[in-house]
Assembly symmetry: C2
């Protein structure tokens, strides 16, 4: 089987940046690659993500599979408690693979994954408890510390519900903790209660953690092949860490986005023609926004899903303020086929489409949109994948992570910290009267 | 019953714009109000939305209710086919009222609303047809022309499926057309096939159409009270069309956002602490993006949902490029209660929260976030609603529409056209070989 690699297409940026500029930024990207690989840059204590795909051992994947098998048979629903980096990676992959209506279609043997600890909305928890009243379920609680307010509150509520429903012993069998190896509240609780537990490595930040058990366990629980996901990421790791810019899509992406930012394109619109990628866009927003948005700098991450949003934000994309660059995630092949019926009257005028598949029509929309946006003053980059599956998602994840590390160094920030996240918490604790 | 009005709070903008500037923009807003009310501005043929709440007649609402009653008894699922303004308004209101997990909870007597015609994704239609195979369903097809590619394709596919499933006669009973009064492909099809049909007024553009049958029929089908929705909008219409800026939240919102845009804040982040508002944000993006994004101008609409996104885009909001203004939709009261259990060990350190409701904690997060963002260089406006229900959503919708008309005139564009939307279609048709 030949697996086509992820391809980075820059055709529709060429009228916006000249060759000399680009070469300059490609050189900078290679310099950042050296800083990254020699662990000499800012935040070098958090570079564990770089070698996760090759470091992960088969027995860890097997252990996850065993837990999935054990719990799948007794759970209709599986609640994943986490926020930010302990939430978005798993959801990005699961929703990319299962599509929007999967909860209405019987699925073979795997629980429906629901989320908690990512919100403080009281009505959401009331509804969630009502679902859990009437379904058998299990829980993964994911937190480095165990004291972050949102997941801590959610875990208390759900643990209490689970123990009421099944008794303490059975509840313990239905909970998996993913947390620090040695310290923290969740680590202590997991030890006391003998939960099955997995480790979040010290040197991997939340937004780079999807290829640890943080992402892998929920993804496997939803029924997807984490071995293939890791294989795709491993392939990407091999290319992006070792190749010079000419053969390195990640370095190219980092170089082009910085070159465009430098020309005043301050917003990056991640777009797709595959609505299942919606949470992938959310994961990408955290990855880039949290890594680069500091010291008054950084490209603002934004996202749209086409063609639906061409009928809402399309006008702005075409003719609004010219401060937007666009990055399209393009998927060559769909999975299923739906025919368009012939109609003899042809009042709607679409008989010319019946020999085409929806995917072909969607691709013409994509190509037409890229041309229109480019002609309207939006530079467009395109990340091309042959199909959307575990392998290509693994590639894409590592591609985004590696390009992000490079891009952050090029911008001159520490891409691996997040000092600004504490500001609202400090105010919130004061208002809540926390001592 | 005292119904508290929508309140527009500008406390956290004061350090960014001085009083003189604001007064200047408030005066401009009042001038735009005069242009709007005398129908002397650009796009004055499309001002039908201004008086929709007071124009709509009881018999129209009653007719909708009758169709809802007739179809509710025989449909488990109701498919709404539409895109852009024929899609987002209904979905915004329905999702705001039903919450994310409602499809998993038995709901009393109303069909589950699903969407089509808003995408060209082939896998989505394969899944949708599989759902329709196993559920009784009906359809509303919403299109002014009947020839827009996405809804036309969806309607062909679903009409064919419906006729196969129920036979032609029964299928005709299960389809409602919402379209032009006199012309267009869908109008002709609806006449030929004797569909129940409703009119989209000529003088109301898509993004302003939620208070016509375009929005009202799907909202009523989902089980929500459209009389209350109209009452809220009517109340808002009375205030915003007649009051000077001092007592007019819509004029104030238009004035502040233009004053801030003028100071270099080129992005408006619509945020909430109520995840059910997600599709409301999508509706708002179309409204403002399509109305203002033209001639190289316009504030870029963006949105986040907190607290979840404080753990992803929070870093950027706090410390990234300072080009963002924020508008928080703040909901004072939740609907349901969930207690946080006491824990004697208190390893997670949240025992201090058990006497508080989640809604109170969420409000402290909101207040803490507003202060943190303001202190970090983001001017924050706040739109305050007492509760989230049909009445307040009606108010909020009209508030946004009225402020949008005013704001577009202040910016110096025609807020009621969308010339840029055709650009991608032209390319797409060429690539598809359309003659």
């Amino acid at each position: 089987m030949v697996l086509k690699d992820l391809f980075f297409n820059t055709e529709s940026t060429e009228i916006f940046v000249n060759r000399e500029d680009i070469n300059n930024f490609l050189n900078q990207a290679e310099a950042a690659q050296r800083v990254l690989s020699t662990h000499q840059g800012a935040g070098h204590d958090f570079l564990g993500w770089e070698s996760l795909p090759s470091d992960i051992e088969d027995w860890t994947l097997q252990r996850i599979q065993n837990d999935v098998q054990r719990l799948s048979t007794r759970c209709e629903v599986f609640v994943v408690i986490g926020i930010g980096g302990s939430y978005l990676g798993a959801r990005a992959v699961i929703e990319a693979l299962q599509s929007e209506l999967s909860h209405l279609i019987p699925h073979g043997g795997h629980p429906l994954v629901l989320y908690a600890g990512h919100t403080l909305d009281e009505d959401y928890y009331a509804q969630l408890l009502s679902v859990l009243d009437s379904h058998d379920y299990g829980v993964a609680v994911i937190s480095k510390s165990g004291t972050t307010t949102e997941p801590a509150v959610a875990f208390r509520i759900i643990k209490h519900h689970l123990e009421q429903k099944y008794g303490k012993d059975e509840a313990q069998q239905r909970i998996i903790a993913i947390t620090d190896a040695h310290k923290g509240a969740l680590h202590t609780i997991a030890e006391q209660e003998h939960y099955t537990s997995y480790v979040i490595p010290d040197n991997v930040g939340g937004r780079f953690s999807v290829l640890t058990p943080v992402g892998l366990l929920p993804i496997a629980m939803a029924g997807y092949n984490i071995t293939k996901l890791i294989e795709g990421a491993r392939h990407a790791q091999h290319i992006y860490r070792n190749s010079p810019a000419g053969g390195n899509a990640a370095l190219q992406y980092a170089a082009y986005r910085n070159a465009l930012y430098n020309k005043g394109f301050k917003v990056e619109m991640l777009t797709n023609f595959t609505p299942a990628l919606r949470y992938f866009s959310e994961w990408w927003k955290q990855l880039y926004g949290e890594s680069e948005g500091k010291e008054g700098k950084g490209i603002l991450p934004h996202s749209l899903s086409f063609t639906t949003d061409l009928h809402s934000m399309g006008q702005y994309m075409q003719e609004g303020e010219r401060h937007i660059m666009e990055t399209v995630i393009s998927i060559a092949k769909g999975k299923q086929h739906v025919g368009i019926p012939m109609d003899n009257q042809n009042l709607d005028g679409i008989n010319y489409l019946v020999t085409k598949s929806l995917t072909e029509i969607n691709h013409c929309a994509e190509q037409g949109t890229i041309e229109a946006h480019r002609d309207g003053g939006v530079p467009v980059m395109r990340i091309e994948l042959p199909i959307l599956n575990e392998y290509t998602l693994g590639q894409l994840i590592y591609f985004c992570e590696y390009a992000c590390g490079i891009s952050g160094y090029m911008l001159g920030v520490n891409p691996f910290n997040q000092p600004g996240v504490e500001a609202y918490k400090k105010n919130m604790f004061r208002l809540l009267g926390k001592e």
